[in-house]
């Protein structure tokens, strides 16, 4: 009866109801809950505008991220979407723009932070991080938080930044909602799962309300365009080693055709490349594990697994797998592990205690193969649907084996006409100033010069004669002056105002860009005082630190002011930008 009664009130024809009934019959409780939200959301989306006003009681959520190469930023964006669906009034905030005072009022806080350098926070987050760690940081009682830390187990201070933020927030009285989540380079799946779970836990107290599914807008453009998850097979249009045949190093100028991809980059952005492992090394790894007959695994090792990096957990895991006491001891001691890993790779681990492995055992030991980023060295305004990159070949010799960087080694092996899977990794922080008058000071030794070539191409295309000053350095003038003819042309045309170069191996005394900066300190400081934007790109380990120290010294020398404080102000004003790796 009830059913017929109900039927009478149903505004559906019986044929329309049949599929709904069968769907509900097979559904789980969770699915049915979701469906009720879905229908409510559909209702809301189609209602007249006034009726769609969000309910007043939405809980607030801040997703605070600290990023260098954009991973945390991308995760933050997807956390915001997810949170929106779960009924939060969510906002995304870059730590570079965040202040500690505002944070106390945030209510709910999700932190997503990566670690750089040797356990350092991303550069643009340095000021916030320092304020948070400072002894005079304000109490944060009332704040509820959880931290997602991104890192790389190949580094000794794994996820250091995220860990320290997590500890510090608790010290300041905030409530930890979940333990800090530490992600390795294969963060995509675990990070998204953790975001989902954490948000749901956070929202458990608030009544499950409307699920915001966007029915009207076409699918997000991001989904259609090529991305890290769906890279574009970019054809190699040009591939030239820019160093002379007598150089001690190789840097490849590589032009990738983006024609038809819809990919668009701006000078300052990077191109992500999904590399393929050296087939010879794949074979060596398979052979070492007694798996050289396994072609399926061979294919997986080529493109999906990182078969070069060696991490401490891998040492322990392998030691356990093969029952090797010596390796187990090494794996258990960070110092021993560090010494063992110094110049070794995964293959050396297998060689240290050869053992036949099952395919799943080998695959289980390996991390996913991460993409590599390369600053674009071109402007689309000049080169159209092409992206030019400058790739330094990583190559060294250790323990009797010639070693190559995965991506740069692959690029060195490639030929024009072949393709590389690629996507665009935007870096909106590293852009030419909007004001055409504002001078730029560019410091980019080695491959660090790549984005500045993009800047110059952009200026050339726009016919913009902005005051610009470039510092470049390499080993030898004759053999390593990357893009020398381009700079000469821009200098002649007056597009590049000034250029200073340092070549470390041309004379008995080593000379670096910072030495040139010191020689030119008066002018350099004058440029800064005149409002120049300072860009530093390239090697993070040594160059960026030395250049930074030199900048501070120059400021102190020229003005008597505290150099570090001056530079901090520049960072805050968005006039000291670094893209270092």
């Amino acid at each position: 009866m009830a059913s017929s009664q109900a039927t009478a009130m149903i505004p559906f024809a019986e044929e329309q109801l049949a599929p709904l009934r069968s769907l509900l019959a097979d559904s789980s409780a969770e699915q049915r809950t979701w469906l009720s939200g879905y229908i409510a959301g559909f209702q809301a989306a189609n209602a007249p505008a006034a009726a769609a006003a969000p309910p007043a009681a939405k809980p607030a959520l801040t997703v605070l991220y600290a990023t260098e190469s954009g991973n945390s930023e991308a995760l933050a964006a997807s956390a915001k979407r997810e949170a929106g669906k779960l009924g939060f009034a969510a906002r995304v905030l870059d730590m570079a723009d965040a202040s500690l005072d505002g944070l106390a009022k945030a209510g709910n806080l999700l932190v997503i932070a990566s670690t750089w350098g040797e356990g350092d926070p991303p550069q643009r987050a340095e000021a916030f991080f320092a304020a948070l760690m400072a002894s005079d940081a304000p109490p944060l009682a009332g704040l509820r938080y959880a931290v997602l830390a991104l890192g790389d187990r190949a580094y000794a201070k794994f996820c250091e930044t995220g860990r320290r933020i997590d500890t510090r927030l608790a010290e300041l009285g905030a409530t930890r909602l979940a333990p800090v989540e530490e992600c390795d380079l294969d963060f995509e799946v675990p990070a998204r799962a953790w975001i989902g779970t954490t948000l749901r836990e956070l929202g458990a107290e608030t009544p499950a309300s409307v699920i915001h599914v966007d029915f009207m807008r076409p699918p997000a453009t991001e989904a259609a365009a090529h991305s890290r998850a769906r890279p574009f097979a970019a054809e190699i249009a040009e591939l030239v080693n820019l160093n002379s045949s007598r150089s001690t190093v190789r840097n490849f100028h590589i032009a990738l055709s983006l024609a038809g991809s819809g990919l668009a980059y701006e000078p300052g952005d990077a191109i992500g490349v999904l590399p393929t492992n050296d087939p010879a090394l794949v074979d060596d790894v398979l052979r070492a594990a007694g798996l050289d007959h396994d072609d399926a695994l061979r294919a997986a090792l080529a493109t999906r697994h990182d078969i070069t990096t060696l991490t401490q957990p891998q040492i322990s895991a392998y030691a356990a797998l093969v029952g090797d006491a010596k390796l187990a001891a090494i794996g258990a001691d960070p110092l021993q592990a560090a010494a063992f890993r110094a110049e070794r790779q995964f293959i050396d681990l297998l060689d240290a205690a050869p053992h036949k492995l099952a395919a799943e055992q080998l695959a289980g030991l390996l991390r996913p193969l991460a993409p590599r980023l390369y600053s674009v060295a071109s402007s689309r305004k000049l080169v159209d649907e092409t992206a030019e990159l400058l790739v330094a070949e990583v190559a060294w010799e250790a323990h009797g084996r010639a070693r190559r960087g995965v991506a740069s080694g692959e690029i060195a092996r490639r030929r024009v006409g072949e393709t590389l899977p690629a996507y665009v990794q935007a870096n909106r922080h590293f852009r030419l100033p909007d004001e055409a008058e504002r001078p730029v000071l560019m410091i980019g030794p080695g491959t660090g010069v790549a984005p500045f070539r993009a800047f110059m191409q952009e200026q050339e295309a726009l016919g913009q004669k902005r005051r610009s000053w470039l510092f470049f350095g390499a080993r030898q003038f004759t053999h390593d002056f990357l893009y020398q003819l381009d700079w000469q042309e821009w200098l002649r045309a007056g597009l590049l105002t000034r250029m200073d170069v340092a070549f470390s191996r041309d004379q008995p005394e080593k000379q670096y860009v910072q030495d040139r900066m010191w020689e030119q300190r008066r002018d350099l400081f004058a440029w800064l005082e005149e409002g120049a934007v300072l860009y530093v790109c390239g090697d993070a380990a040594a160059m960026a630190k030395d250049v930074h120290a030199m900048l501070a010294r120059i400021v102190a020398d020229q003005s008597g002011r505290d150099g570090e404080a001056y530079l901090r102000d520049l960072v805050q004003a968005g006039r000291y930008k670094r893209d270092v790796y």
């Binding site: 002379s244 004759t478 990357l482 893009y483 003819l485 200098l491 070549f503």
Partner: protein
Amino acid sequence: MTKPPSANEGIKAASRLLRGGIAEGLRDRITGGLAADDQQLTKFHGIYQQDDRDLRPERAKKKLEPAYGFMARLRVPGGVMTGPQWLAMERIARERGNGTLRLTTRQTIQFHGILKGNLQAAIRGIHAAMMDTIAACGDVNRNVIAAADPQRAGAHKGAVDLARRLGGHLLPKSRAWHEIWIDGEQVVPAGDAPAESEPIYGPTYLPRKFKIAIAVPPTNDVDVFAHDLGFIAIEQDGRCVGYDVTVGGGMGMTHGEPDTFPRTADVIGFCTPDEAVDIAEKVVTIQRDWGDRSDRKHARLKYTIEREGLDRFVAELATRRGRALAPARPYAFARSGDALGWSEGDDGRAHFSLFIENGRVGGALMAALHAIAEVHRGEFVLTPNQNLIIAGVAPGERAAVAALLGEHGLANPAGGLRRNAMACVALPTCGLALAESERSLPGLVTQLEAALAASGLAEDEITIRMTGCPNGCARPYLAEIGLVGRGPGTYHLYLGGAFDGTRLNKLFRRDLKEPEIVATLAPLFSTYAAERRPGERFSDFAIRTGVVAATTAGNRFHEDVAA
């Protein structure tokens, strides 16, 4: 018939006594080169802009400019330097150059591949060792060369002393070299005329390079007839009483232009030692006033003399000096090559003449000479045959030097042909080279040695000289066998130059490839071995048997050519 002056004349005139824009050019570190006009001016400072020709094909596609590097040439009157100076030059070569020293056919040392950014440091190092590069190139009197014959201590000292006096007297007076390379500061603003002047040269210097050599018979190692001006020492009772004076020698010519030719100098008289410097000054001023300033290919003194006639020239010299030269005295030369190995000097000191293949010192050889320079107290004498004499070895020192020579494998002499072989620099640094030379001759000599050995001539001395182009930097036209580059791997073969450097050779075969050179010479060697007269030189034999005609004067060089 007044033709416009050559471009170089304008550059010199506008240079403010050799300054030009060199100082500014040195500050521009984005290019490794200098402005074209300044490249002409640096020559007067002993510095040439070059580029590594081996790398030329790849540079542009790598977005690199040509691989510029500078050659710097020392001024070493008579080729005499000390051990500490040698060590200082070696260090400059390692730290600022391409790691090699190149001993030249005119008793100096060349550095190659100095980057623009290192030039000042290199020249300062040279200056600190009390040496310089002033006027080592350019339209001025160059390094004065003198017989490298320390065995005859008195005569050698006299010749070197005259070389120093001549060189010093004819040095440009401009302070530009010191300003630009040593002080490094003053950049005289355009228009500000420097205070000094050039009393001998005038503001446009000479129409072309000018070279002086001093020979001490019986050795003609300096090839005195190859120079614009020469002095042949005349000895009486073991004492130098004066010099026969020669004028109008030169080697350079251009392929396919018969009005260019090598020329042996004419002997025009005799002078006493104290007249020599004044004679040199007057010859220089005649060339300054009479030389062709419109066509650099005819600007050397040899063409001035050909054009004006020797008599007119000699008369003009007498007029400018206020008196004529005394009649020339007899002299006799025996050889133009070096006598290698140990020799005892007439002053009790010993000398070791070390064969240095094509004058190139690097790697193991440089290390060996370094070791010797650290113990040796005497001199290092560069020879006009690109060799090096470890000179003035005191009796107590000799064993140590001999041991070092043995240890480094330098004691064993090469065969008769190789000992008398010379090649110019050519590729990869010389911008004028048409063919390889320094890098090619050693291998060719090895092949020819096999042919000589087959005829039993392995120890016979025969002079062979190769150049990468017809400019003649290794004086190939005065060799018994001359090879002159025509194009990659291709050479003209000349025969019949006198062993003592008194007669030019003659073109025998055109455009030979290396294997053809060997195939052409091998049968000549065997007939020479079979048919020569006692003591007859290979070149004299070739002329006697009609292989080539004798060249009796420079202006007949292109005549009677059978090839």
